[in-house]
C-alpha cells in the first residue's frame, strides 16, 4: 500500500517536472485545452489549428538553415530556442522569450492540448475518468451547454451562415454536436438530399417553421442557381399547410418574403389569392379524384361507393369531353342530362348503367353539391402549378378536417398529374401538420412513385403519433426518408431516435475507495448505445434540431431567416416633355439617378408641392375634380 502510494507520488512529480521543463508547450496546451473546453470544441479542431501553424515552424527552420548553413544547427534549433527562452526569462525579457520559442511551442502545444483534450473526453465517455461517480454525466451536460453557446454565437455573427454554400449545399445553421457525422462549423446538407424524402418532427413552438422556411428557401435558391447553370430543371415548391387559420396566413406571408429573397419570382397563396383547376386533370384521374373526395364506407356502403363511381364515370366520360367546371359537373349529375348525352347511339352499355343508377343520381348530386360548396372556389379556377415558382396552399385542417382532407387529396392528385404531364420541374412537396390530413392522404403511395416524377416529399408533424394514422404507416414514412429526418424537441422522440441506430460504446466499471480515490480494479465492456440520445432531444431548446441521416446525428442550431416586408419599388423617373434631344438626355439622366438625388430642376413641381420626386399633377386634378380646399 505504501509502495503504491510512493509510486503515485513519484509519477505525479515526474509529470510536474516535465510540465515545468516544457513550460512554453505546456502553456499553449493548457490554453488550447481551456479554449476547447470553453467552446465545446472537438479535439480535431486543435489538431487542425496545430497543422495551420506548421508553415510558421517551416519558415523558422528555413530561416535558421539559411542563417547557420548547418543541418546540425537546424536539428538543434528547438533545443537551442528552449535554452534561449529560459535565459531570456531569467533575465526578465518575457516578450523575447515568448518570441524565440513561439514557432516551435505553438504547434507542439496545440497538438499536445488536442491529445490531452481527446484523452479527457475519452476517459469520461468510457466512465474511467473523473473524480466523482457522476462526473461523466456532468461533463457531458456542461459540454453540451458550451457547444450550444458556441453555435449560437456562430449564427449570431453577421454573414457567418449563408443560405447556400459552394457545391450546392443548403445551409441550416451552426453545428452544436455531431455523432457519426463529420464535425463542421456550419451545418449544411447536399442539395441531393433536398430532392429526397424528408421527415420533420417537432412540437409547436420549437422552431419547426423556422427550420422549414430555411429548407424551402435553400431548396429554391440552390435549384434556381442549378437551373441557371443548366444543371437542373426549374424548381417548384408546393407547401400544404394543413393547420390553416390566421397563423397559416402569417407563415404564408413570411414564406413568400423569404422565398422572394431566395430568388422565387412568384409565390401563389391558395386559396386566398390564387385558384387551381381540378378540371384540368385527365379524365381517368379526374374520376378517381372525384370519387376519393367523397368519404364512403366499407361493407354495405361499398355498394353505394360503386354506384357513385359509376355515375361519376358517366358524367366525366360523357361524349363531348370532361366537365370544365364545378357547375358543369354538377349539371351532369342528372339522369336527364346523362341520358341526352349518351343518346347519340353506340352507348347502350352506358345507358344500361344509367338506368340502374338513376335512382341514386339525385343523392350523389346532393353530396357533391355540398362538398363543392364547402371546398370553395379554390379548385375551380383556371390556374395551374406551372404558373408560379412556389405555391403555399392553406388547408383548414383545424377547423374543418373533412374539407382539408378532400382539398389535400385533390391538390396532391393535381400535382402528381402536373409532374407526369409537364415533367419539367424539380418539385418539392412539403406537407406541414400532416396529421390533419393523414387519414385520407396516403403520402407513402406518393413516395413510391415520386422518384420517377422528380418529386420529393417533405412531411412534418408535431409528434411521432401525428405522422400517420397507424404505426405501420408511420414507420413506412420515416424509413423512406432517405433525405434524413429532422427531429426537434418532442416529448416522445424514442421511435424516431431509434431510426438513427446504435453504435458500440465502452462501459467501464471501477471501484470507489473513497472520494476522490478510485481503485484500479474494474472492467470494461462494449455495449450498443443509441446514436441519437432521446434525453438530449427531449431537452432541446427552441431553434435546436437533430438531423438523423445514415446512422449518425448532427445537432444543429438553426439560423432564422429574416425577410423584410415587401419593399415598394422606386417609382419610374419623371419624364420631361418629349421630342427634343435635351428631353431625351434628361430622361436618361433621371432614370439613372436615384429619386432622392434628383434636382428640383429635373422635377417640374409647384411652389407648395408636398411630394418631391414625381411630376405635379395637381393642375389636372384641380381641373377635373375641383381645387382642394386650403388645410
Amino acid at each position: 500500500m505504501i509502495r503504491r502510494a510512493a509510486l503515485r507520488v513519484l509519477r505525479i512529480a515526474v509529470a510536474a517536472a516535465l510540465v515545468v521543463a516544457a513550460a512554453p508547450v505546456s502553456l499553449v496546451a493548457a490554453v488550447g485545452t481551456g479554449l476547447a473546453w470553453f467552446g465545446g470544441w472537438p479535439p480535431a479542431r486543435l489538431y487542425r489549428a496545430a497543422l495551420c501553424c506548421l508553415p510558421m515552424l517551416a519558415v523558422w527552420l528555413a530561416a535558421t538553415a539559411v542563417a547557420t548553413r548547418s543541418a546540425a544547427q537546424v536539428a538543434a534549433a528547438p533545443y537551442l530556442a528552449w535554452l534561449a527562452t529560459w535565459h531570456r526569462a531569467a533575465a526578465g525579457d518575457w516578450a523575447g522569450a515568448a518570441a524565440v520559442i513561439a514557432p516551435a511551442a505553438i504547434p507542439a502545444g496545440l497538438a499536445v492540448g488536442g491529445l490531452a483534450w481527446a484523452y479527457r473526453i475519452r476517459s469520461l465517455r468510457t466512465g474511467s475518468g473523473g473524480l466523482g461517480p457522476d462526473s461523466a454525466v456532468a461533463f457531458d451536460r456542461r459540454q453540451w451547454r458550451h457547444q450550444a453557446r458556441s453555435a449560437r454565437a456562430r449564427i449570431a455573427a453577421p454573414g457567418a451562415v449563408p443560405l447556400t454554400v459552394r457545391g450546392g449545399g443548403v445551409v441550416v445553421g451552426a453545428v452544436i454536436r455531431a455523432v457519426g457525422h463529420p464535425h463542421r462549423q456550419i451545418a449544411s446538407i447536399p442539395y441531393a438530399r433536398m430532392r429526397s424524402h424528408q421527415v420533420v418532427v417537432g412540437s409547436t413552438g420549437t422552431g419547426k417553421t423556422t427550420l422549414l422556411l430555411r429548407l424551402w428557401a435553400g431548396f429554391m435558391a440552390t435549384a434556381l442557381r442549378r437551373h441557371a447553370d443548366g444543371q437542373g430543371r426549374a424548381p417548384l415548391l408546393v407547401v400544404l399547410d394543413c393547420k390553416g387559420g390566421a397563423d397559416a396566413r402569417k407563415i404564408a406571408d413570411r414564406a413568400r418574403r423569404v422565398l422572394r429573397l431566395a430568388g422565387a419570382r412568384s409565390t401563389a397563396i391558395w386559396p386566398d389569392e390564387a385558384a387551381l383547376s381540378l378540371w384540368a386533370l385527365p379524365p381517368g384521374q379526374l374520376t378517381t379524384t372525384l370519387v376519393d373526395l367523397i368519404e364512403h364506407g366499407t361493407g354495405g356502403a361499398a355498394y353505394y361507393a360503386d354506384v357513385l363511381e359509376a355515375v361519376v364515370e358517366l358524367a366525366v366520360a360523357a361524349p363531348g369531353g370532361p366537365p370544365a367546371s364545378t357547375a358543369d359537373f354538377l349539371a351532369r349529375l342528372d339522369p336527364g342530362w346523362l341520358a341526352t348525352a349518351y343518346s347519340s347511339g353506340g352507348h347502350d352499355a352506358e345507358l344500361g348503367l344509367l338506368r340502374s343508377a338513376a335512382r341514386q343520381a339525385g343523392d350523389i348530386a346532393l353530396r357533391y353539391r355540398t362538398l363543392f360548396r364547402r371546398l370553395g372556389d379554390g379548385l375551380d379556377g383556371r390556374g395551374g402549378f406551372g404558373d408560379a415558382d412556389a405555391w403555399y396552399c392553406i388547408l383548414e385542417g383545424t377547423a374543418e378536417v373533412g374539407v382539408a382532407e378532400a382539398q389535400a387529396r385533390a391538390l396532391v392528385d393535381l400535382l402528381a398529374s402536373f409532374a407526369v404531364r409537364e415533367g419539367g420541374r424539380e418539385i418539392l412537396l412539403a406537407v406541414d401538420e400532416f396529421s390533419a390530413v393523414s387519414r385520407r392522404l396516403p403520402v407513402w403511395a406518393l413516395y413510391e412513385r415520386a422518384r420517377s416524377l422528380r418529386l420529393a416529399v417533405q412531411v412534418s408533424a408535431q409528434s411521432w403519433a401525428g405522422l400517420a394514422a397507424d404505426e405501420n404507416e408511420r414507420y413506412r414514412i420515416a424509413s423512406s426518408a432517405d433525405g434524413g429526418i429532422w427531429l426537434l424537441r418532442t416529448p416522445h422522440p424514442e421511435p424516431v431516435a431509434a431510426l438513427a441506430g446504435r453504435s458500440p460504446s465502452t462501459d467501464t466499471t471501477r471501484r470507489l475507495v473513497g472520494i476522490p480515490v478510485w481503485s484500479h480494479r474494474g472492467s470494461s465492456r462494449l455495449r450498443p448505445a443509441p446514436v441519437a440520445d432521446p434525453e438530449l432531444i427531449r431537452g432541446l431548446d427552441v431553434g435546436q434540431a437533430a438531423y438523423l441521416y445514415r446512422g449518425g446525428v448532427t445537432y444543429v442550431q438553426v439560423k432564422r431567416l429574416v425577410a423584410a416586408p415587401a419593399a415598394l419599388p422606386a417609382p419610374v423617373s419623371p419624364r420631361p416633355a418629349a421630342g427634343t434631344a435635351a428631353a431625351a438626355a434628361a430622361r436618361t439622366a433621371a432614370a439613372a439617378a436615384p429619386l432622392a438625388a434628383r434636382t428640383a430642376a429635373e422635377v417640374p413641381s409647384g411652389p407648395d408641392r408636398p411630394w418631391p420626386g414625381l411630376p405635379d399633377v395637381s393642375a389636372l386634378l384641380d381641373e377635373a375634380f375641383g381645387a382642394e380646399p386650403a388645410p
Binding site: 401563389a268 389569392e273 415598394l568 419610374v572 419624364r575 418629349a578 393642375a619
Partner: protein, 232 residues
Amino acid sequence: MLFAAEMYGVQLDHLAAVLGVGEARARAIAAKWRARGHAETARLGPGAPWTWLTRAGLTACGLPYAAAPPALGRLAHIRAVVAVRLALESAPSYAAGGGYWRSERRLRTRLGGRIGLREHIPDGEVHWPDDAPVPWAGECWAIEAELTPKTAGRTTAIMRELLTRTGDYGAPAAEARAPGPPRHVRVIYLCTPAARPTVARARKALGEAGTRIEIRHLPPGAAMPAPVKATR
C-alpha cells in the same frame, strides 16, 4: 356604346354627358339602341334609368365581355366611377395629354379565372402616351373610387398592392410582382367625405410610398340620388 360597355352601364344623365346632348335626346338615342337589340334600359335604382349593352351590342362593339345588367349592389359604385371618368375626360389637360381610360371591366376580363383571381383590381387605369406633352407622360395611374370607408388596414393593403404591382393584369402570375419599375406610378383616390379620413390614414401608414397616392373628393354627380320616400 363603347363607353357604356366599358363601364358596365350608364345612367341617363351620364349618357347625356357622354354624348354631349340633353337628356331627352339621350333617351331617344338609348331607345334607338334598344330597338336594334344593342342595349337594354331599365330603372334599376334611384335616379335616371340605366342603359347597358346586350350580347348583340357587345358583339357590335367587338368586345368580349359577358352581357349582363349592372349588378344592383354595385350601382352606386359604378355611377361614381363613371362620374370620375367623365370629370377626368372633361379636363383640358387630360385631352391635351391624350390620356386613355382602361376600365375595370377590361382589366377583369384580361384576368379571367387565372391565379390572382382574388387580387385587387382598380376601378380604372389611366395610361398616358410616352410622347404626350405633359410632365407625367408615359405614366400609368390606378383610379380608385371610395364611397364607404373600409378599415385602414385593408385600405393600406390595397394601396400597397397597387403600388408594388409590376405586371399587367392577366399576365403570367410570375410577372405580377417581378423586379422592375412599378406598374402604377401613382394611385388617385376619389373619396366621399365619409371615406376620406380612412384613406388619408392608410396613406400615412405607407410612409414615403404614400407620396405616390393623391386623394381628392368625388366630383359632383357621383353620388346616387337618395331613394324617394313613398308618401301617403
